[in-house]
Every structure is written in C-alpha cells, then in structure tokens.
Amino acid sequence: MTAVTAAQTTQAETDPAANARHRSMFPLLFLTSSAGLLLVALAFDSGRSGHAIATPLLWIGLMAILLPSALRLLAADTPRTERLGIVVLLGLALYAVKVLQSPVGFTLHDELGQYRSVADILRTGKLYVDNPLVRAYSFYPGLLSATAALARVSGLDIFPAGLIVVGVARLLVTGGLFLVVERVSRSARVAGLAVLIYTANPNFVFFDSQFAYESLAIGLGALTLLAAVRATDRGTQGWTDLVLAAALDAALVLSHHLTSYAVALFLCLWLILELARPAASSRRGRLALLALVSVAFTGAYAVFAYHATASDIGGSITGSFHGLFDTISGRAAGRAPFSSAPGYTDPVTVRVVGVASVVLLLAALPFGLVALVRRRPPERTMWILALAAVAYPFSLALRLSSAGAETSNRASEFVFLGLGTVLAVAFFTWLAPRILARGRRSALTPLVLLFVGIVFTGGIFVGTPTYGLLPGPFEVSAGNRSIDAEGVSAARWANAHSTPGEYFFADEPDTELLTAYTHLHPQTGVVNGTGIGALFLSTTFGAFERSIISTDKLKYLVVDERDSSARPRSGRYFDSATPKSGYPTTISPSALAKFDQATCLDRVYDSGHVVIYGTQRLFEGCQ
C-alpha cells in the first residue's frame, strides 16, 4: 500500500468496476481492530487488578485499532466504500474502548446527570422535568427521549439502552463526517484522512463516547450539513434534501445547544460566501431558506432554554475569556498546561507526548492552509472548514487560564473537523507529491503513521486525565475511579428509603450517584458567603453547621470516609465553592466523624466507607 497524489485517485475511489478489481482489506482491519480491542480489554482487566502492564497494553491495543486503519486510508488503491467502512469501523472500535472501560454502569458526571433525566421521563412520561445536577440537560431532550423510547419500548434498562443509542450516534459521527467532507472536498481520500485526524481530537475516545447529549448531537449535526450540502447542489432533488436537512436540524436543536449554534453559524457563513460570488439563484435560494430555518429554530429554542443554557455554558465561556484576559494582563497566574490538581503531577511522558501532539498540529496547519489556498477549492464550504482550522491555535490559548480549559476542550469537536480536512488536503496535494517526487516513497507512510500516532495519543492525554484512562481501585474525587459498587448501593438504598424532592449534601461523586439513582436533590453553592462544603470541612458541629443544614433544608448528609485518605484527584471535593488554590490538605478524619457525636443527627446508614446521617430531628426543634 502506498500513498499517492490526489490526481491519481479518482478512478480507484469511485469507479465500481475499479472497486471490484481491488481486494477489500476491510475484513483484515476488522480482525486487527478486534485484536486491539482484546488487548484493551486485557489492559482494563490488568488495571482493575492494579498491574503495571495495563498502561502499555492499553496503548498497544489503541495503536492496533488506529494504525492499520490509517495505513489503509492513506493507500491509493482503497475503494471509496471501503474507506467509508473503515472510518465507521474505527469510530465504533474506539467507542467500544469506552464501553469496555465502564461495562456495568455509567460512571461520568454527564452520564449520571443524563441518567437522572431519562429516569424522570420514564417516571413521569413528560419531557423537561427539572434536572437538579445540570439544568440544561432536561432542556435538550434529544438523547434523553431517544433513550427513554428505546428503554420503554424494548423493556431494557436505561444503561444498555443508552449504550445502544450512543453507539448508533457514533456511527453517525464518523459516517456523517466522512460523507460531508467527501462532498465538500470531492475526494473520498481527503474525507477518510480528515475523519482519521478528527478521531485524534482530545474528546473523541472518552468524552464524546459518554452517554451525553453532545455525543448524539455531533452526528446529527454532520448529517444536517450533509443534507444541506446536497440540497444546494444542482442536478439533485434539492427540495427533498432541504426538508431532510430542516428535520435533522430541528432534531439537533432539541439535542444540544453548542452543536446547533455551530451548524447555524456554518450555514450563515456559507450563505455569506455564496452571496459574494455569482451563483445559480436556486442554489442561493435553497441555502438562504435553510440558513433562515436553522437560525429561526436555533434562535427560538435558545430563547426558550435561555436560563438553562446560560447556566450551563454561559459562565464557562465568559469565564474563559476573562481568565485569558487576566492571564495576559498579569492579573492572574496562568494555568500550567497538562497540570493536575494540587498534590498530583502527570508523568513526564504524558506531558511530552501531549505537547508534541499540539506542536505537530500547529506546525502542520500553515502548510495545510497554503495548500488549500493554492488549490482554490470551488466549494465555499471548504473555506469555512479552513476557518475552523484557524480557530485551533486560539482554542489552545484558552487553556492558559483555568476557566478556559473546559471551553477549549468543548471547542475541539468542531475545530478538529476543519483541522482534519485542511491537513488531509495538505497531505494529498502538497506533502505526498513532494516526497514521492524525491523518490522517498518508503519514508512517506511511516512518517504519516508516526504523525497520526503522536497526535492521537497526545490528544487523549490532553482531553482525559491520566487517572481516568484505566479502571482501577477507588480514588478520591477522580471521575470514573470514584464510582464503585458501594456508592451505587448507597444511592439505591437512599432511593428506597427517602422521600422524593428532599435535599442532601455529599461529596462530588456521591452527589452524582444520588442524583442519578434517586429522586433527591443535591445542594451546592454557598450559604451566607461560605461554601456549603464547610459543613464537611469543619471539625466541630455547631451553630454554623446547623445553619447550613436548615438554610439548605438538608435532610441527608452522605459522608464517604475515604475522602480523608487523599486530596481530590480532580481538585474538587464538592460540586462547587472550591478554593481557588485548591485544597491544601485532605479533609480531617475528625471532621467527617464529628456527625457521630451530634445528638440531633441520626446515623441511619453504614456500609463501611459510606455513612448517611438523617437530619430530621433538627427540623423538629432538636437543639
């Protein structure tokens, strides 16, 4: 298999007769992907047992999934249909990695929050039941209603139903992005390589595989763009695609805020670019109609869901820019890239590979843009993708502030579509021809595979904390590592023995668990200017602690005694009011044990590490 120039590709890509002459490598790739998944499963098995071999096994397994697919996508003689099959297989295999990591239940913050909303739909038969963890979840019921429908109609539990829906969504993401880029670039080879680079975005393997609204929305967004591109093409039945695009966009608007904004922005930019040149009126007319419909849908729904959306992303976006401004102006200390929470440091290899991946992408970007400008693509949409690619360095700048890291992470799903396309164009029209012209054909493929491997590995390091890569023993406030059977059992007990709608306070993981599996409401934030976490941090139980309980109407205090064993890996013990400099020490064991001596509290539950206190007697006047 060798890489060749774009000019040599078209017949092998699209001609069915040419396709038929080529032996499909898809079964072999299915085999290597399966072998990679087996290695990943063994890595997770080793991780659960605490063996050091887990980490190398994981990376060997991931490379076994990625590199053979990359090799085949770079080859000149790969038929177009096989390319599509490869990117779909790659997407699903990487989704399976996440499933193998957490095979018995949801473990991430967003997953547990959305679980609550699906349970609320199944319980009430209504949409828009207030979600106490993140208000925006219930206002974007696309994933929720699809999962609830599957769970109710099939009789499956929410967890398997959610896994199936997100698996289908993953099919839409890779398949949809391939079809869009293929249509826009008019090359299946560019599309295949663009999707391959897209899988290296920091969120692809874990964050975008979780049971969360964005996982479905990206796929719907890709299919909306595909229908839009088809609708504006001359010579096709444009109106049917137009209706399809509008329907997909409406479903998207009901599914996720940021993705629907990105699609509306894409359509508007496209319309502006089309208006700037002579074009067939029907093309402009269809595009204008679609952009208008998209903006109307998105705008109207943004108004409807304004408060919920603003509370979810508003603070994060404004905080990002304020943080960046403060860092640049010297008012605040910058955030060291690849830094962990106070008390923890990432291994040197993680930092080196993470930085290398960013540097490689930044170095390749100018070449991609130059190659694109020289190629003068007829499709205006290519320039919008180039604009998205240009946004990549700016999204990295946001990482210099603590508040901006999340925004930068969220932006990567959109930015990498442009980045992947631009770099793919550069590869096929600039890099490959030059290297082949110098007679260094044998160097080309290893070089590109090395690039893809580093960018993919570094992307995972950038987007996922190291403690979240492998399953293993319990760790304090460490995302999926803090969700264990004992915590789930405590939540299920609370669901069976509490009154719906009552309030509780717990550390972050138990807050997520009790919110997901009960009908209780968590309390967060501050009371009289002090973070509610002070209730657990103080070593005495006095008037101040009582005032927090009464002000926040807390009926249950859920204490995980393991919180006193280590500082939180995520930097946060509780869902809000984390000190700016983090927690200097662990929570004192005596601070967590103080509730045992409080005569007005009942110690109603004990499972070893998790203890639940009832506060009912305080509300009955106990002093």
């Binding site: 038929a20 499909s24 898809f26 079964p27 299915f30 085999l31 399966s34 998944l37 087996l38 499963a41 997770f44 098995d45 659960r48 249909t81 096989e82 599509l84 779909v88 193998l100 018995v104 038969g125 949409l127 019921p141 209603s145 609830a148 429908a149 109609v153 099939s154 009789g155 499956l156 829906v165 099919l171 398949g175 949809g176 079809l179 719907l220 299919l223 088809r230 695609d241 399809l244 329907a247 997909l248 599914s255 399953p471 059977a485 004992e486 059992s489 023995h497 005569t599 007005c600 009942d602 110690r603 004990d606 499972s607 070893g608 590490h609 009832g614 009912q616 007697r617 106990c622 002093q623």
Partner: protein, 252 residues
C-alpha cells in the same frame, strides 16, 4: 417499480409486526428488543427516505443516513407527543413510531416509483472467503474481549465486599425502628446484631445469603433516649463491623 412498491409494503408489514411484538411480549425478551431496535433505529428512517428519496446515497451511506433520520424522527416525535400532552410511554412511542413508518412508506408508494433510484447492489463491501475468515476471527477476538471484560468487571464487583446496615425511625411516630442489613460480602454471613437501649441490650443472630437482605422492626420503651445498633460478623459479637444510631428523644 413493482419491486419498489413491494419494498414499501414490506416496511409497513415489518412496522406492524414490530408493533405487535412490542405490545404483546414481555419486557427485555429477545424478540421485543429486536423489534424495538428496528422500530427506533431503522423503520422510521426507511419510511421517511421512501417518502423523501435522496439520490446518490447508497450502500454504507444508507447505513449512516437511515439511523440518523430514524433518531431525528424519534426526537421530534417525542417532542410532538409531549406538546400534545400525551404520556410518553411504551404505547405512545410504539404506536406513533410504527404509524410514522407506515404512513411514510405509504407516501413512498403513492409517489411516482420512478423517483426512487436506490441501487441496492452498488457500493457494498466485498467479502471474499479469506475476508470471511478474517471477519470470523475478528468476531472471536471481540467475543474474547467481551468475556475478559465481563470477567474482570464482575471480579472487581466481587472484590468490592461490604455490608449495608441501616436503621430508620418509624414514620408514624410509633416507638419502633426498622433495622435492615444487605449482604454484599460475596458469601453467606452470620451477623450478630446488638441493639443497645438504655439499660438493656437486644441481641439477634441472623444468617443472610450472598446478596440477601434482612430487616426487622425493633420497638423500644417510652422515654428511651437513643437506639444504637452494632453489627458484627462471623457469629462473634466483636469487633463492631457497622453501627447506626437513632437519637429518639434528644434534648430540646
């Protein structure tokens, strides 16, 4: 043209069959799960694409487009049902999705059959004999991955051994409390439960199977200030393994 129409009729019959299976078979049965998957991820999309045929997408492209359109239909259908104040449940989703699939396929039949240009034989991934062997081997490896994961995940669950002890005051205000034990130790356990009231101790020995539960109502005399329940394992009263405490008449 006739084949096209027959295909539309087949989608309609399939939607009807799914409807019947879902409404008549028990939850989570294999046939119901299969019918639900078809009704949510396939049939609405097929129906809509019969009514609104798109040219130039076939083979694997359809594999992507059909579930996308199906999911869009499910999401919009759910929103529409909600707006119409219809309770979202098995019957509502099943009937509405089957109806959409049937009506859309009917629209496809009513449309001029000449507008439908799907070529079902084009663009498929060719699987030769060697390829088939590789696919089968891949399937075996996947199954091995699943078995390895299931084994290690269940082992981790088994390793997470603990006992839940709980006590709740009687909600009616009667002088009694309910005490319960959940055994997650991975094996049958003999617990010794000692309920300490002022001046006397009630001792109960109970054996609970793995994954089993036990609960009992403990009454206490008027004027009792607190009820502390200690739980010990292996039939021995010490050491205390879990404890809970209810403050019955705390000072005001």
């Amino acid at each position: 043209m006739m084949a096209r129409r027959l295909l539309c009729v087949a989608w309609q019959l399939l939607a009807g069959a799914c409807l019947a299976v879902i409404l008549t078979t028990p939850a989570s049965s294999p046939e119901r799960v299969a019918a639900a998957l078809a009704l949510i991820f396939v049939l609405p999309g097929l129906g809509v694409l019969e009514a609104l045929p798109v040219r130039g997408i076939r083979g694997l492209g359809l594999l992507v487009l059909v579930p996308a359109v199906s999911l869009a239909v499910v999401i919009l259908d759910s929103a529409a049902l909600y707006v119409c104040n219809v309770q979202l449940g098995t019957r509502a989703w099943t009937v509405s999705l089957a109806a959409i699939a049937v009506v859309a396929a009917q629209l496809g039949i009513l449309r001029s059959a000449g507008h439908v240009r799907w070529r079902w034989r084009g663009g498929r991934v060719r699987v030769a004999f060697g390829g088939l062997a590789a696919m089968i081997a891949g399937g075996v490896l996947l199954a091995a991955a699943v078995v390895a994961t299931a084994g290690s995940a269940s082992k981790q669950r088994r390793d997470d051994r603990y006992t839940q002890l709980w006590a709740l005051p009687d909600p009616t205000g009667a002088r009694a409390a309910t005490v319960g034990i959940y055994n997650h130790e991975g094996a049958a356990q003999t617990y010794v439960l000692r309920a300490h009231e002022t001046g006397r101790t009630l001792t109960i020995s109970v054996t609970i199977g793995s994954g089993g539960t036990w609960s009992s109502r403990v009454s206490y005399p008027a004027g009792e200030r607190s009820l502390r329940v200690n739980l010990s394992m292996n039939g021995n009263p010490a050491p205390v393994y879990r404890w809970v405490q209810l403050n019955l008449t705390p000072p005001r």
